[in-house]
Subunit: 213 residues, 2 copies
């Protein structure tokens, strides 16, 4: 978890900057951006510094320049293709959400499922049988996959993704995936997140006298 938090914050800054631009602003200061992104101004300057992003010593940052820099870092200019494995409940929602991804030039180009009844187009995205996945990945140079499969088959699916050459996985199955360390895995356990919020909202201040949550 070295650079990961930097990246995450940078993406958040970008989100805020886009809104600032829509509101007609031209410049931001680490202070104003920090306020919007819920981060300290020093943190922002440090994060920018880490990626060589420079501002103007008196005039803060030019939003358009900042966005250019951030878009360059995140490869916004080329479209980045992603696949989706498991077109059940969550998978379906993500496929439908694709236009949200598309705005950021991330695009689910295909879905895969073992269930033959799922093999059809969803929102323009072709859903293909699981066996085709490795070839698809190789032929299209796919490097990142979104997994929305049941927990029982998740590790197996992960293995075949890695074998096919996938380098990054966003995983919604409630399991901690094991993969070679050159593969980036982001586990998103919706149940656990909800539960942690419930805990912090209801119980945290009663136990141990700990408030900070």
């Amino acid at each position: 978890m070295q650079i990961r938090n930097n990246i995450r914050r940078l993406l958040q800054y970008r989100m805020c900057l886009i809104r600032f631009r829509e509101l007609g602003f031209e410049r931001v200061y680490s202070y104003s951006l920090g306020r919007e992104a819920g981060v300290s101004p020093e943190q922002i300057r440090k994060d920018f510094s880490r990626f060589g992003i420079k501002g103007n010593k008196r005039g803060g940052y030019l939003i358009s320049e900042l966005l250019d820099s951030l878009n360059y870092i995140f490869g916004k200019n080329e479209l980045q293709d992603v696949i989706l494995i498991g077109v059940g409940n969550i998978g379906m929602a993500l496929a439908r959400y694709n236009c949200g991804f598309f705005k950021r030039r991330k695009y689910i180009v295909a879905g895969f499922d073992i269930d033959p009844s799922k093999i059809r187009k969803i929102n323009e995205i072709p859903v293909l049988p699981m066996e085709v996945m490795p070839r698809f990945v190789k032929e299209n140079g796919i490097t990142v996959g979104i997994m929305a499969v049941p927990a029982v088959s998740a590790q197996e699916v992960c293995n075949s993704l890695v074998n096919a050459g996938i380098k990054g996985i966003m995983n919604f199955a409630p399991i901690v995936l094991k993969a070679p360390k050159h593969v980036v895995i982001e586990n998103i356990n919706l149940c656990n997140v909800l539960e942690s919020v419930i805990y912090c909202a209801n119980y945290a201040r009663d136990d141990l006298g700990v408030l900070e949550c």
Copy 2:
């Protein structure tokens, strides 16, 4: 972000323990649990220690006892009601996912939406008009809400939730919500998560020579 990471890891441990139990195991060691949860054994012992969970100096931990302790901490024994605001694409998927939540005794008891066409039952969950929300929250003692509304209306919805007495929010809108600090907010920006995975998978090792991601 004081206790939050502890909580999150504890929930992950529980997840692993449930699987261990299903596989017929009776005991775990910090080492074996750590391997499964992707965490160091010392970390696990530290986390347990923080919450007063004790093991057996030679025999590790009895899975059933551990699960009892964890379930006690997270209030697994009583059913915890949650509401959902915004029954669009993501919201709908979460409503349908409810049985997954239910297994953990977290339950979406109602959805709310401003769009009148959404006012109907989804998967047994009644969807009500937004105006009814404050009364519903008060009458049913709801403390936690899941927000899956568009970014433009998110802050406004957040405000009315807080006014209604909500203490914790799991937010899927791509915006950093501002709320009084006694309210716990967890922002889940699916685009940003995907983008960070893509970045780490493709670019991280090229820039700056940083590998750790």
